[in-house]
């Protein structure tokens, strides 16, 4: 156990230089963007003088290193600045929008895991069967259909043609009142408040975008599960287990599946981090007030504070996610903790 704790400690210290690097890089990258926030902020009718005034007010006339020192000092105290376009503190914006993205991504991943993993296992245990072919078709479809396309098709079918889905306009229909903010996840907050009507309303809004993302993330997961199961099932220890007469369930789950889980978890981590930052298209199609659409809007208008805040938040999230994956790894695979000593 002490070995594992020190492994966790080492991993966390590894993250510190990464975060510092992200602070520097995000700062420099936003400065390198084309476009001038002062011009945007001043509005269409501004003249040279008022733009210069705003530039001074924003501190953009100072040399780069001075701007950086001010920025780093603010970040260190937890102040990410104000967004130019929304006028709100960036921290507040992120706190409002990040849970929306997380709720969508986590639901989508939960859905895709609950389909992809059993599907991959079944396909691996019965190669060449109907399940195997189904798996192949789903994987191909998931890879080749872009999310904005599946999203629009789902809206067309379930909202326009069948009329079972609510209008794709955000996280909650206007007839409901937002649940009190506890976690920012509407499903959880509504459940805490005991407001099951709102809970159902939030769920209805969530189903289509989550399904869209799930179909997209299902492909790599199902593929990796199938491949990992196939290689685990052909290994020597499975032969030993079979030769000892262990039941097929035991062989499949305790012996093969646990070994096959390792590459699946790695893939899951990659898919998760990729989806969280890259589901802008889904958020746009479903008018989901997530962090991805926020970042794109900020980027278009050179909203420095918002972009930097977004990059920093994502970096922290990735670091935390990788830590969680590494820890899951050490829980499953006893060989890991010892190798890093």
């Amino acid at each position: 156990m002490a070995g594992r704790l020190s492994t966790i400690g080492v991993r966390i210290t590894h993250a510190i230089p990464v975060i510092l690097g992200v602070v520097v890089v995000s700062f420099l990258l936003t400065r390198a963007l084309p476009g001038d926030p002062a011009v945007y902020f001043a509005g269409a009718a501004a003249d040279e003088e008022s733009i210069a005034e705003i530039r001074t007010a924003l501190g953009l006339d100072k040399p780069l290193y001075e701007q950086f020192i001010i920025y780093a000092g603010d970040v260190a105290t937890g102040d990410l600045g104000n967004s130019l376009s929304t006028g709100q503190p960036v921290l507040e914006d992120l706190a409002n929008r990040l849970p929306a993205s997380l709720e969508l991504t986590l639901t989508a991943l939960l859905l895709s895991c609950s389909i992809a993993i059993p599907l991959g296992v079944l396909a691996a245990t019965r190669p060449g069967s109907a399940v195997d072919h189904l798996c192949r078709v789903l994987v191909t479809a998931g890879v080749s259909l872009p999310t904005f396309f599946t999203g629009v098709v789902l809206i067309y079918v379930f909202y326009y043609l069948l009329g079972i889905a609510p209008s794709p306009l955000g996280r909650l229909d206007f007839i409901y009142i937002e649940p009190d903010h506890v976690t920012g996840f509407y499903l959880i907050d509504a459940a805490i408040a005991g407001d099951w009507e709102t809970w159902l309303g939030a769920l209805k809004q969530l189903v289509l975008p989550a399904a869209t993302l799930a179909l997209f993330t299902l492909a790599p997961l199902a593929r990796m599960t199938r491949a990992a199961m196939l290689s685990a099932l052909s290994s020597d220890y499975i032969r030993t287990a079979r030769a000892a007469g262990l039941t097929e369930d035991k062989v499949l789950f305790t012996y093969a599946f646990r070994n096959a889980l390792l590459p699946v978890i790695t893939t899951l981590g990659m898919v998760f981090s990729f989806t969280l930052g890259a589901n802008v298209l889904v958020e746009k199609v479903f008018a989901w007030p997530g962090i991805g659409s926020y970042a794109v809007e900020a980027l278009v208008v050179s909203d420095y504070a918002a972009v930097q805040g977004f990059v920093l938040a994502m970096a922290l999230l990735f670091v935390a996610l990788n830590l969680v994956i590494d820890l899951t790894y050490t829980l499953i695979d006893p060989r890991i903790g010892f190798e890093t000593k």
Binding site: D236, Y237, T240, R242, G245, L246, N259
Partner: protein, 550 residues
């Protein structure tokens, strides 16, 4: 009635090129308390026979004929669920490569518990105690601590003990051991085989020992079946097979098994035995190693792989470097071939110190051509996308300074020299047999006419009959080209055949050295004696008068 009876067993595999018959009508019986050895070279169908018997064939394999009867039960027709009850409880199996045979992420104790509980030999409450008992039965010291170990924390020999504990946990009547000691060190091999033999006798079990090593089979089995190409060619007691083999194939196998008292030519079939060449050894040293030290930075402090060894190889001499895994023999050979740098010490080659030139610059050193190596794994040491010709030609193109046509000519000559038909030169490694690949590896190593050749277990992965041919080839090449050899091996019998001088290493130190005959016959160090005692001793072969030509 016999415990196990196999009659006319046939097994076929469906492959892309159609159906392949792996076992073609094998019949054999095992009595109660009997240990049957199945001996054969790769592809003889010996393992497939045992998998068919356990009904553990791969998905594309199936039993196409014959009867399998165990204690009156027809194994071929019982339901899969019955078969699962029999496996582990009535018939158990142990495998080669024990580390891979255990689940890498499950505690060994839990793996044994799984089997015990599956066959109702233990309940949740006493499973741990029973598992520890099973570990104690295979003489694992400190069994209680080992219960919590994972396979990667145990040595190969220890893993094999765990596999045996797992197989014997439910007191089966029949144990099938498929190459149980291949890849283990010779002293570990002896310990494991002795343990198996003892447990079998103690529990009056029967066993089927599948091996390519006739000597091993002869030492531990009551009766031996020799298989070739999916058929049984001969059957009899070990004594009888060795002293009076009936079938030509058995004769060839017996001949090819290295053993005390037989010269290198005696390994070949009688009609191929030419007189042994004269091998002049000069008194001038070619290579002198002085106080060679290699220390690695390990996870828990420095690892002393080689602790200051000194020895010499004379011009034309063949020196054997013997030891078990971890003794430092591979480290030494990779330093001598200048693929690694020593921590300190001198390597004088023709009087000049090689250790001065760092390993990373040695590829451009003019002396690179003079020291070459033949690698252990003939398959992995070739680029799979290069033809045999390409592999042999590569050193010539880099260091030989020959024109394209001269190189082609030279590759042909080399192929003739190592006995590789020129028509095979344009094949890729996967299209060549093990013996052919070994020849390509040797041809590549001698392409630049080296003065010193390091042979790192060049025959370890080969069948005995191929090993016999390759060893003889090496002797002939030494006679023709006057190369000095450093022959790295764990097999003392092979070293005795090929070397004039033997160095025995243990834990990075030389424990004994001397002329081969002296070290082999009157070893002075206890470790050498232990190594010699551990090597299986096949019964002496009575040479018929016709082979007196030697």
């Amino acid at each position: 009635m016999s415990l196990l009876s196999i009659q006319g067993l046939k097994v076929a595999f469906q492959t892309r090129r159609g159906s392949v018959d792996a076992v073609r009508g094998v019949s054999l019986e095992i009595d109660k308390g009997e240990i049957l050895g199945i001996v054969g070279e790769s592809g003889s169908g010996k393992s497939v026979t045992s998998y068919a018997l356990m009904r553990l064939l791969d998905r594309n394999g199936s039993i196409t004929g014959g009867a399998l009867s165990y204690g009156g039960i027809d194994l071929n027709s019982v339901r899969e669920s019955t078969m699962r009850d029999l496996r582990g409880r009535e018939i158990s199996m142990i495998f080669q490569n024990p580390r891979a045979a255990l689940n890498p992420i499950r505690k060994v104790g839990h793996q044994i518990e799984d089997v015990l509980r599956r066959h109702s030999r233990a309940t949740r409450s006493n499973a741990k105690a029973e598992a520890i008992k099973a570990l104690e039965a295979v003489k694992i010291r400190d069994a209680e601590a080992r219960y919590n170990a994972y396979p990667f924390e145990l040595s190969g020999g220890m893993c094999q003990r765990v596999v045996i504990a797992l197989a014997l946990a439910c007191d089966p009547k029949l144990l099938i051991a498929d190459e149980p000691t291949t890849g283990l060190d010779i002293t570990t091999q002896k310990a494991v085989m002795d343990l198996i033999a003892e447990l079998i006798a103690e529990r009056s079990m029967s066993a089927m020992v599948i091996t390519h090593d006739l000597g091993l089979a002869a030492q531990y089995c009551d009766r031996i079946v020799v298989m070739k190409d999916g058929e049984v060619v001969e059957e009899g007691s070990a004594e009888r097979l060795f002293t009076a083999p009936q079938h030509a194939y058995t004769r060839k196998l017996v001949d090819a098994t290295p053993r005390a008292g037989a010269g290198i030519r005696a390994l070949l079939p009688a009609e191929q035995r030419t007189p042994e060449p004269v091998l002049p050894v000069s008194d001038t040293p070619l290579l002198e190693v002085r106080d060679l030290v290699k220390t690695y930075q390990g996870k828990s402090g420095p690892v002393h792989a080689v602790k200051g060894i000194s020895f010499s190889v004379m011009k034309g001499q063949s020196v054997g470097l013997v030891g078990e895994s971890g003794c430092g023999k591979s480290t030494t050979s990779s330093i001598l071939v200048r693929l690694a740098d020593p921590t300190s010490g001198e390597i004088l080659f023709d009087g000049e110190d090689l250790a001065n030139t760092p390993a990373k610059n040695f590829a451009r050193d003019p002396r690179r051509a003079k020291i070459q190596m033949v690698f252990q794994d003939a398959t992995d040491s070739f680029n799979p996308r290069h033809t045999a010709r390409h592999s042999i030609e590569e050193p010539l193109a880099r260091l030989g300074g020959l024109s394209r046509r001269e190189r082609k000519e030279r590759v042909g000559e080399l192929a003739d020299l190592v006995g590789l038909p020129r028509t095979l030169l344009d094949r890729f490694p996967h299209q060549l047999s093990g013996g052919q690949k070994a020849r390509v590896g040797i041809a590549r190593a001698i392409a630049l006419e080296p003065e010193f050749l390091i042979l790192d277990e060049p025959t370890a992965a080969l069948d005995v009959s191929i090993q016999a041919i390759v060893l003889n080839l090496l002797v002939d090449l030494r006679a023709k080209l006057g190369i000095s050899y450093l022959f790295v091996s764990h097999d003392l019998h092979v070293v005795r055949l090929l070397c004039d001088y033997v160095i025995v290493m243990r834990d990075g130190e030389i424990v004994e050295e001397g002329p081969a005959a002296k070290v082999m016959q009157t070893p002075s160090h206890a470790y050498t004696q232990e190594l010699l005692a551990a090597a299986p001793v096949p019964p002496a072969l009575q040479e018929p008068a016709s082979s007196a030509a030697e």
